[in-house]
């Protein structure tokens, strides 16, 4: 009975890791990465390593997504308008708050 939980959590980790690559929007990929961290922590607990699970939960589920979020917020995400294949519909809508915020607080516009 013990191996069922092992393989089920392992399949979930694999599914979320595939999602990290497959999701086109950056915020969604970071969220799937956080899910990978949480599920890997659960997998380490199931495999009997609680200290590794502590480190994985703190780093993989909390610190790494925050790091990626800061990096994504610092970069300017301008998506070209004539982007083919439905990637643009998901992405422009989600990149909207970030780009709007950077445009408002841009100091060069106040100077000119």
């Amino acid at each position: 009975m013990f191996w069922a939980l092992d393989y089920l959590v392992l399949a979930l980790v694999l599914a979320c890791a595939v999602l990290v690559v497959r999701i086109r929007s950056l915020n969604g990929a970071v969220m799937a990465l956080s899910a990978v961290g949480v599920l890997l922590g659960l997998l380490f607990i199931v495999l009997g390593a609680p200290d590794v699970a502590h480190a994985q939960l703190v780093v993989g589920a909390i610190a790494l997504p925050v790091l990626y979020l800061i990096a994504i917020g610092k970069t300017r995400t301008d998506v070209p308008e004539d982007d083919p294949s439905g990637a643009s519909t998901d992405r422009t809508e989600e990149a909207d708050p970030c780009t709007r915020e950077t445009r408002i607080e841009d100091p060069s516009q106040e100077r000119s």
Partner: protein, 86 residues
């Protein structure tokens, strides 16, 4: 009694499979945040019940991280979507 704990943990992880589907095909970011929040809760419950199944109280402390920082992370995500993180 001990196998009942494992059955409950298995059921929680099986529920988390459904939430992973929503995490994959959610059209907006908010859908994915909802799915991730519920998935963190299910993983935490599975972890608690696996600790009760294995009868190791040392495993219980790892469940406090998803319980506290999962929901705080949701609040941080909401604030990030609203006005940016920095």
């Amino acid at each position: 009694m001990s196998s009942l704990y494992l059955v409950v943990a298995l059921a929680e992880v099986a529920i988390a499979v459904l939430l992973t589907v929503r995490l994959g095909l959610g059209p907006t970011t908010c859908d994915r945040i909802v799915a991730l929040n519920a998935l963190t809760t299910q993983a935490m419950l599975a972890l608690l019940f696996f600790a009760a199944y294995a009868d190791r109280t040392g495993y219980l402390d790892a469940a406090l991280w998803p319980a506290s920082f999962g929901y705080l992370g949701t609040i941080v995500w909401a604030r990030y979507l609203e006005r940016g993180l920095l």
